[in-house]
């Protein structure tokens, strides 16, 4: 009795199209800002995790285990609603005068993703023969300098594909930011649905965007794999 009438014009032009476009922009913004921060934090945590300084190692371990084993959604809620009581009033006031929804989403995504990135970097480093570190240390470099000049440059090269995958995960995970009112792509698709009742069209549009994003990123990884990591393999 209910036959669904398709109306693709809803998502290809006009107001709702603009909503979706602005959603794409927000998704991209979160993703790019998030990945840059997550990489920096992840690198820091990875170095701490491998250092000889015990408190740093323990902190990094606790950080990794806790944030990797807790749902991202709960972390988002925590940073948005739960951080209020912990922070001083002045900080809260300042945060609230800014686009805190966006900031909370980025913080949560950064921390969550950085924990995974740190582990990726660590396994990259572990795959570098330990003689490299020994050689660097016996040449007189400190631990941090050895990392900086000898180990990390090698490790980062093989860590690029997993890092790009984390970027993709972050972009996909940013959809959870809709729960605290960040108007990213999934949020907008859902808005279009509740305004027009054309959920099918709205979700198809968002799906296409996500697929284009993820398949182009995956393609880049393949290219990197071929050109940089295994230049001789592909004949």
């Amino acid at each position: 009795m209910l036959t669904y009438q398709f109306d693709w014009s809803v998502v290809t032009s006009g107001k709702y199209f603009e909503w979706l476009v602005s959603g794409c922009k927000v998704t991209l913004q979160i993703s790019v800002v998030g990945i840059v921060l997550a990489f920096i934090v992840g690198l820091l945590i990875a170095v701490m995790r491998m250092s000889n300084f015990r408190p740093a190692r323990w902190f990094a371990l606790a950080y990794l285990e806790f944030f990797r084993n807790t749902p991202l959604l709960v972390q988002i809620f925590f940073w948005y609603f739960g951080s209020y009581k912990i922070l001083p009033t002045a900080v809260n006031d300042w945060l609230n005068s800014t686009n805190f929804e966006f900031a909370a989403a980025v913080i949560a995504l950064t921390i969550y993703t950085s924990a995974f990135i740190a582990e990726d970097i660590r396994s990259g480093v572990l795959s570098i023969p330990k003689e490299q570190m020994e050689a660097a240390r016996s040449a007189g470099f400190s631990f941090l300098r050895s990392m900086q000049y000898i180990i990390l440059p090698q490790a980062v090269r093989i860590t690029v594909p997993p890092l790009v995958n984390q970027f993709l995960n972050l972009a996909k995970n940013s959809s959870l930011a809709m729960t605290i009112g960040v108007m990213e792509l999934t949020y907008q698709a859902r808005q279009v649905e509740s305004y027009t009742f054309k959920g099918f069209e709205a979700f198809t549009a968002a799906t296409v965007v996500y697929l284009v994003l993820s398949s182009s990123i995956t393609a880049l990884v393949h290219l990197y794999d071929k050109r940089v990591l295994n230049p001789n393999r592909a004949v």
Partner: protein, 274 residues
Amino acid sequence: MRKLITVALALVLVGVLGTAALAAPPADTLAEVKKKGVLVAGVKDSLPPFGYIDEKTRSIVGYDIDFINAIAKKLGVKVELKPVTSASRMPQLQEGNIDIIAATMTKNPERAKQVDFSHTYFFTGQKFITKKGTVRTLKDLAGKKIGTAKGSTSEQNVKKSIPTATVLSFDDYPQAFLALQQGKVAAVTTDEAILAGILAKAPNKAQFEIPNLQISDEPYGLGMRKGDKNFVDFVNKTILQMEKSGEAKKIFEKWFGPNTQFHLKRNFKITADK
């Protein structure tokens, strides 16, 4: 290149699935409900006093639920309550997951194209809740962040009446109110009765107020599937009878009356829509 093909084929796949006819929920809900012996209602579960979880019994209670109970009793069937949000209630109904919506749903023409409404069983207007003394007129909210719930008429109304405001939509009103408490939004907007319910439960209610700024009338109706005439007639007959017998008034007094924290006056009667 292969990725491009991948995407293209994925689109085709989506298209194919998309053209599959959507499932048909029961055409005659009244008969269906009687047959299975249970009325499945979509209700709010964290919106006192319309529908919320009672801390002691851990079950859903409220104004909306009492109406559903009365209808089910008349039908001689059991009740199953399903929590819905403002955004999920209409798809849920159309997909047949629930038989009726009793979830503070405002009747408006756009929605009436998708569902059939009962006569108005609750009447209120959309207002704001703000920190005391911060808002006198609508202008005070220009350019501010205003919280509300996804997929609600409140969201659409406030966008119309204060176009410069940023509307933040949460999954539910209390969450929006929490954002207000924490200073993340300047106001929360929705129907007065809901605002009153939230405010009454708020731990620091003295800091907040509901300024006398009404931006729309909000008549609530029970939502049923489009064209489900038997069921709509039955529900309308039942709630009119409830009005006549005084049961409807009693339910109102139970949840909003002088013995509650709300002290609302019943400024409406359930009557047949024209």
